[in-house]
């Protein structure tokens, strides 16, 4: 470096940074506090989510976003603390590269989160093309004109590329908003909630990041850029809400303890390294807060595990009860069935019309009892994986056709219109034909039972590698309260027994277990009580 430049640097009397980021050049201890908190929290949450399911694309993208953000925050810390012009130029250019990349990754994230699948190559190219100039010219004078030594602020001059970066960030923000809004309009209630929370979280995070930096660039007041970091805890807050509300990610006790221990050690590390008194105060305060928060978090997770253990004990007790029902109660029903059948076929001698009528009623009631017990036993077996599915490539349309052939006549006999909306196409899927037929039968049976007048529509279509089967009715509909328990064990609708006296609350639950074992998903939509309902099943199609 030239002598004149060296003289100027010496005149500024900058402190020499240790480990790139620790120096007296940082005049506000809040910088360390806000940066470390955002960096550690975001990176560890991203890592934990990634480790819970490494293959899930959404987890990978979230990890990418949190890693990029952590890098951005680290670069920011270096810019605050370091005194070497070369390093300042490099980390400044790194921020110019990373910042729009975070926005682009967020666009990708929202695509995958909302559509529940990877986006097309065309969409990825459209997102990435705007980043090309930044990647090509990040280390040229178009990004950074040079190091500014006309004062002692340790800043660089930003070129046209930096402004271009802020421009595309605004573009990406609008992209997320428009895409989410378009999807939001066509989604069901629960999906709408998920889209709303994730989009709001991302927008708040990105808005605070972009506003801080634009204000910093325009006003030359880089303290204001700190505001950006407060966006991350908001995003993390929304993410935590997602974890609890939608069980999107499953963080376990060990992971929680690792998280707390890592944060604790890192903060302790800062306390050891730094010698400035006010930084010590801030880090000591952080240590106390982290200890309290960590203790509360670990206690709450331990409580949850204890509850799970109690639940496992209850499941064991229920299995004993199921065994009792299987052997004793079902046995009694079967014996009664033979008695009624014997009366009806004349084994016990001639009978009057009245006795015949009563015996028929008794036999029907008996059959309904056996059917219910079989359903409960099936659910118990499905839950504990008591039997193996006979998985093979099957034509799902053929299963639907067979079911329609059996179920259509009784529905039409009830005076309801039966509509078939089956699109042409290949409906091959991997599954057990017996259990898949149970699913289809259950939906069509239910539609017939819960609809007094109007129609029942059975639909089948294939879209983007997924087979979508639905049964729509004009029946009693589903209230918001009933919707929450619809696919749960014993989850009967409040008024369901008024319409269907045989309702057990196990039918839809068994459907859910079967469909999930086939790696599919099941859900229901309804405008409310009396407004009909639509039940959906989505299965993976076999490519070809």
């Amino acid at each position: 470096m030239e002598t004149t430049v060296q003289t100027f640097i010496e005149m500024c009397q900058w402190d020499t940074a240790k480990f790139l980021i620790f120096s007296d050049n940082v005049f506000a201890p809040l910088v360390y506090y806000s940066h470390f908190f955002a960096l550690i929290t975001s990176f560890i949450i991203g890592l934990l989510v990634f480790l819970t399911d490494r293959k899930a694309l959404i987890n990978r993208i979230l990890f990418l976003i949190t890693t990029l953000f952590s890098l951005w925050v680290f670069a920011d810390l270096v810019l605050w603390a370091n005194e070497k012009p070369g390093l300042i130029m490099f980390f400044w250019s790194l921020q110019i590269i990373i910042e729009p990349l975070i926005y682009a990754a967020c666009v990708y994230f929202i695509y995958v989160f909302v559509t529940k699948k990877d986006t097309s190559l065309k969409n990825k190219l459209s997102i990435a093309v705007f980043l090309v100039p930044t990647l090509l010219f990040a280390s040229t004078k178009y990004a950074l004109t040079g190091f500014d030594l006309t004062n002692c602020y340790r800043e660089t001059g930003e070129g046209v590329l930096a402004l271009y970066g802020y421009g595309i960030e605004v573009l990406y923000l609008l992209w997320i908003l428009i895409f989410s809004f378009e999807k939001f309009r066509t989604q069901g209630k629960e999906e709408k909630q998920q889209t709303f929370f994730v989009t709001t979280g991302i927008i708040l995070f990105l808005l605070s990041l972009v506003s801080g930096n634009i204000i910093g660039s325009l006003t030359e007041n880089w303290s204001l850029a700190q505001a950006g970091l407060f966006g991350m805890p908001i995003f993390v807050g929304f993410l935590a809400y997602m974890i609890v509300r939608f069980k999107a990610f499953n963080v376990k006790l060990i992971a929680t303890q690792v998280l707390m221990a890592t944060i604790w050690l890192l903060v302790l590390g800062i306390l050891m390294v730094r010698s400035i008194e006010n930084v010590r105060v801030v880090t000591a305060l952080t240590l106390i807060l982290v200890t309290i928060a960590g203790d509360l978090l670990i206690k709450s997770v331990k409580k949850e595990i204890k509850q799970r253990e109690q639940l496992a004990e209850l499941i064991q007790q229920r299995e004993s009860l199921v065994h009792l029902i299987d052997h004793k109660v079902k046995g009694s029903f079967t014996r009664s069935k033979y008695v009624y059948a014997g009366i009806l076929d004349g084994t016990f001698g001639p009978i009057s019309e009245e006795i015949k009528k009563r015996a028929e009623e008794g036999l029907d009631s008996n059959d309904a009892g056996i059917k219910t017990i079989d359903l409960v036993l099936n659910v118990a077996n499905l839950q504990k994986g008591g039997f193996k599915y006979d998985m093979k490539t099957v034509d799902f349309r053929e299963i639907v056709r067979q079911s329609i052939a059996e179920k259509k006549p009784p529905i039409e006999a009830k005076g309801l219109k039966f509509i078939e909306d089956i699109k042409e196409g290949n409906y091959a899927t991997q599954g057990d034909p017996f259990w898949l037929k149970e699913v289809v039968n259950n939906f069509i049976d239910n539609a017939g039972k819960y609809t007094k007048e109007g129609s029942v529509t059975v639909g089948l279509s294939r879209e983007s590698g997924k087979i979508k089967f639905y049964v729509k009715d004009t029946g009693m509909g589903i209230t918001a309260d009933d919707k929450k328990i619809l696919f749960t064990e014993g989850g009967r609708g409040k008024d369901s027994v008024k319409v269907n006296v045989d309702s057990t609350g196990y039918g839809l639950y068994s459907v859910k277990l079967i469909v999930e074992a086939h790696k599919g998903r099941v859900w229901a939509e309804s405008e409310g009580a009396g407004k009909g309902s639509t039940f959906f099943v989505e299965l993976n199609a076999v490519q070809g």
């Binding site: 990825k124 280390s139 046209v160």
Partner: protein, 49 residues
Amino acid sequence: MESKSKKFVVIFLLLVALSTAFSFYNFVIKENFEVFTDEEAFNEALLEE
């Protein structure tokens, strides 16, 4: 098509790493940048770009 789409993300991230590595080489190792000690020259450079 799906595999091409996945490869694209990996290739793009490699490009990002390459751009970052070049920036490190240019600014930190080669120290290839201008240092402005004169305010007038600095303002002129800003206006140019």
